[in-house]
């Protein structure tokens, strides 16, 4: 991680952008495919009928953006660090489902979210220290 670019090219900023794009795209995908869902059709197991929804296309645009940021992150950050951190979306997505899609979150699910946050803190803390020293 030497010669780490700063500003907009900072890999940690790009990781954040990538995560934000994934978060929004997941909510758009769920809303999009729900609008055009055909649970009886066997073809719909492939997911291709989802392309009928404009929201799905917006989501694909965001996924492409997140993918480019992610490739950039992979240039500088070990996969075993970057990937667990990227799973902060596993907290953001259920919260987003609760907030924007009115899905219910049970007590057990809240506990799961708390565990994920603890794990993320463990992975992230040595990195925060490392960055301070740079």
């Amino acid at each position: 991680m030497q010669n780490r670019p700063s500003g907009f090219c900072n890999p940690w900023l790009q990781l954040g952008l990538s995560i934000a794009c994934v978060f929004v795209s997941e909510l758009l995908l769920k809303r999009g495919v729900t609008e055009v869902a055909e649970p009886e059709s066997a073809l719909s197991w492939t997911g291709l009928n989802g392309l009928a929804s404009p929201l799905v296309w917006w989501a694909i645009l965001l996924i492409v953006a997140s993918f480019i940021s992610w490739l950039y992150v992979l240039r500088y950050v070990p996969l075993s660090v970057a990937y667990p951190l990227s799973r902060v979306v596993d907290v953001l997505v259920p919260l987003g489902c609760w907030f924007f899609l009115s899905e219910r979150i049970s007590a057990l699910r809240w506990c799961g979210i708390a565990l994920v946050v603890t794990g993320l803190a463990l992975v992230a803390k040595p990195i925060a220290k490392m960055e301070e020293r740079l």
Binding site: L27, G50, P78, D90, V93, P94, G112, L115
Partner: protein, 114 residues
């Protein structure tokens, strides 16, 4: 959940995890070499194809299950990717990182059970 649904979840997971490992290898290579060579392009393309397969399988599944239920299955990929990054890509795996990855996975499994 039907056997087909479970199978599709597993396939989307496997394609996703292998895509990440292949892409990391390609990008690590590109940091030291030029991007205009067959080794790099082939790996990025393979990664993109695998991610695309995983993506459409997920879309199919999303039509049948709640996002907050289905999505965390991908969280199992944390364990797979962290371990495989250490084994296949020879990345250093500290105890702290391993415990962090375990907690994240445990949390995600709890979320998907509830």
């Amino acid at each position: 959940m039907s056997f087909l649904a479970l199978l599709l979840i597993v396939v989307s997971l496997v394609t996703f995890v292998s895509a990440q490992l292949i892409l990391k290898r390609a990008m690590g290579f590109s940091a030291a070499n030029s991007m205009r060579n067959a080794y790099f392009v082939l790996r990025v393309l393979t990664g993109v194809v695998l991610m695309t397969i995983s993506f459409f399988l997920t879309l199919g599944l999303l039509q049948r299950f709640d996002l907050s239920y289905l999505y965390p299955f991908q969280g199992l990929s944390v364990i797979f990717i962290t371990v495989l990054a250490a084994v296949v890509l020879k990345e250093k795996l500290s105890a702290r990182l391993a415990i962090g990855a375990l907690l994240i996975t445990a949390g995600i499994v709890l979320v998907s059970m509830s």
